[in-house]
Every structure is written in structure tokens, then in C-alpha cells.
């Protein structure tokens, strides 16, 4: 994949602790780095331990060597909480793509946002709200084209506990389809 003008693509996933944002970031990086053989760096910031509070992960994907491992201005920002959306929207570049879960984000600061009920989709498709992060991954993949679907499938398969692979792949598929069918990839 990676057919951008700049070799560097910056993704930021943000939500509350417990939503699995960091795991989603790891899977995205793994899909890009291992299965699509690109370069990828994933970093994270989080509050004390496992407890609530904001949680955020940044993934840089590039065809070239990645120096700076953090976002300078994100190409894509996914937010799963209003707080995260308010706080991090300014890290998105003007032409960047915002994705929000409408279950948590009602005030959407951009008119070109992809606004989907991600967690609801998860609940509907897998019966488990905690698969929302994988749905989100599908949405990101589908919307950005930054990683191949196959790479995402492989990455999810390898990271998810054996007995949950199936539902997670369902979640991924649902996310992917929600944007690929719902609207064309906003990545230019």
C-alpha cells in the first residue's frame, strides 16, 4: 500500500483507558511493519496503570526510515471519547481525516469527519462492545488505505487470543465495510 505523496503517514488513536486503543495501535503497526513490510513505529501515552483516563497511541507508517517517532501533524485521528476529540483535534493536519465513534463523540469539530457508531457496530456484529477497537481498526484501514486488508487480517489473527479470532475478524470486516461501502476513502 502506501501510495501517498509523502512517505510518512501519521495515525493517532485516542480514547479512554480500557477501550483497547493501544492494542489497536499495535495491531495497525504490526500490519504495516510485518505483513505489509513497511516501516512503522508505535508509541503511546497513558495515565497511571489500567485505570480510566485518557489513553492515546501514535503510529507512524512510512516507506522510509522513521526518525521522529511521534506525530508532528496527524494524517488520521480516531477518537473514541469527546475529551480525546476536543484535546487532540488540533494535532490533526488541515487535510487530515478525523474518525469518531458517535456513541461517545457528539460535538464533532470537522465537517469532513467519518462519524460512525463504532461501538454500536461492535455490539451488533460481535455482541461485545470491547471489539470496538477492532471495528475501529477496520474503519481506519478502509478509510486510509494505508495498510492492506490482508495485513490487517493477518495481524488481528496473530494478536487475538485463539478463541476470539473469529469474532475479531468479524469486527474488522464490519469496520472495513462500514467505510469502504459507506463512503469512499477520504485519503487523497
Amino acid at each position: 500500500m502506501m501510495e501517498k505523496t509523502s512517505p510518512r503517514y501519521e495515525v493517532c488513536l485516542a480514547g479512554s483507558g480500557g477501550q483497547g486503543m493501544i492494542l489497536a495501535g499495535i495491531i495497525l503497526a504490526e500490519a504495516a511493519a510485518i505483513y505489509d513490510d513497511l516501516n512503522a513505529v508505535q508509541t503511546q501515552s497513558y495515565g497511571p496503570a489500567a485505570r480510566g483516563g485518557a489513553s492515546r497511541t501514535e503510529i507512524i507508517i512510512s516507506t522510509e526510515v522513521i526518525h521522529y517517532p511521534k506525530i508532528i501533524k496527524a494524517n488520521l485521528l480516531l477518537t473514541m471519547s469527546q475529551e480525546a476529540c476536543d484535546k487532540y483535534f488540533f494535532d490533526l493536519r488541515p487535510d487530515g481525516q478525523l474518525v469518531v465513534d458517535t456513541e461517545f463523540v457528539s460535538r464533532i469539530p470537522s465537517s469532513s469527519a467519518i462519524a460512525l457508531p463504532i461501538t454500536q457496530i461492535a455490539r451488533k456484529v460481535t455482541g461485545k462492545a470491547i471489539t470496538a477497537n477492532i471495528v475501529a481498526l477496520g474503519v481506519i484501514g478502509g478509510a486510509s488505505g494505508i495498510v492492506s486488508k490482508k495485513a490487517l487480517i493477518d495481524a488481528v489473527t496473530s494478536r487475538a487470543p485463539k478463541d476470539t479470532v473469529e469474532i475479531n475478524l468479524k469486527a474488522l470486516e464490519a469496520g472495513w465495510n462500514s467505510v469502504v461501502t459507506a463512503e469512499p476513502s477520504s485519503a487523497t
Binding site: 495515565g47 497511571p48 496503570a49 489500567a50 485505570r51 480510566g52 483516563g53
Partner: protein, 290 residues
Amino acid sequence: MGSREYHSAYEYLRPSKKFPHLWCPGCGIGIVMGAIIRAIDTLSLDKDRVAIVSGIGCTARMPVYMDFNTMHTTHGRALAFATGLALARPDMTVITVMGDGDALAIGGNHFIHAARRNMGITAVIVNNQIYGMTGGQVSPTTPAGKRASTAPFGNIDKPFPVADLAVAAGAAFFARSTGYHSHELERYVRIGIETPGFAVIEAISHCHTTYGRLNKLGGAVEMMRYIKSNSITQRAAEKLPPEETSDKFVRGIFHHDTDRPDYYTLYRDILEEAGGLDLADQRINGIVSA
């Protein structure tokens, strides 16, 4: 705390921007905090003369939320800081709140020495049998065989019998209860504060986020049930053979010595002998009334 519109603990909290607190949904630490607050309230202590000192950990975050003189120190050292404060200010009620790791792993030495000296401190240990804050490592109270992130094959360390250790070291009071039995817990904390010298209250609590998850014990509700059904009063325990109680949370007052003077009381004798007693009393009054 009669009938009112606001929460019974409200006047002891720091609601402005500190709540909701940082603990996980359903974490037992908040329940213990409520019990401590009610114990203080029952005793009608002057909030200005109560200090809460903690180390580091989930439990150790308690002081943030409590409207007293509060001090969040370094990991394991709460009792050492509290010792300085209690001796400098014998007019104050000094309470430490510590996790099991804070109190008994890195802080074990200060624990036994505070007990030995019978320092005028009430020490509440929130024992969730794990390191909550850092994500579920084994603690000196993790039961044998249980899993932790640093005991992936099950714990081979023997947990401390906290009551025995505290009493052997010299504590004047030791009692154990659980977050589920919050009334009882409140009462033990109250008696602890009333006891001169070093009083230890072990509050069994649950950390479903780490311990519960790693040991498949469910969420907060399931763990509270688990603790409840695995707890037993000391009286009941005495009637059972030891094997049957060894993995139970035995509740009760294990030791209560009201005769042994606390450290500062003995130190006053030294002050008297050296001729500095009046100066000491004046100094303390001076600080308070300044």
C-alpha cells in the same frame, strides 16, 4: 452524620476538581476510604488536626481525595514520614494508608519498626493482594499459587501472616476486616485511632483489574462476593481446624494492648529528665497558635 441531602462523607472530601477519582470502576479502595472517613467523623476529630500520609500505589492515592492535612510520599516510606510528623506534632492524629506492597514489601522495615516503637500512628493497609498501580505484580500478601504478572506460573512465595508479623513486631492493635464489611471496618479503624500507639487495620480489598483478571475471579461485584464468602470471623475460625481457615480472610480484632504507652509518651519522660518538657509543649503550642 444524621439525615441529610448530601453524601455522608461529603464534608471530608475534596470534591472541587478531584472527583470522579482515579480508581477503576468498582475498585474497593473507595469503600475503605469511606470507612476511614466515617471512623474519623464518629470520633468528631478536628479535620485540621488529622493528617493522612501515604506512600505510592493505588491505595496511596487516597489522600488526594480526603480533606485533611495530606501527604503522598515515596513508595514504602509512609510510616517513616509519619513518624517524623507524629513526633514533631504529637497534638495531631496521624493515619497512614498504604497498599500491601507499600506497607509490607518495600515498606516492611518501617512497618516493623513503627510497631516496635509503638509509634502513635494508625496504619490502614488496603490489602488487595497485588500491586494494583503497576499492573498486577506479585505482592508479599499474594496467596501461594495465585497468578500475577510477575508470577506467571503461580506464586511460590508464602504470604506474610500480617497479624502475626504486626503483633510480633510490637503493634498495640491489629484488626482485619474487608471492604464488604464496611461497618466492621469502620469500627476497627475507629478503635485503632483511639488506641494509643501503633494500630494496624488490614482491610481486605479487591483489585479486579489486575488480580481478578489474572486469576479469573471476575469483576468488582464477583470479587466482592468472593471476599464475602471467603471471609470468616475470628470466633468462627477458632472452631475450625487450621487447614480450613488458612485460605480464608479471618476477620476480627487479633490484638489490643491499651496499656503500653506510645512512643511520645515515653519520650516525654526523657524531655522531663533533660529539663526540656515545658519547652517542647510551648513549641507545639506555638506552631498551632501561630
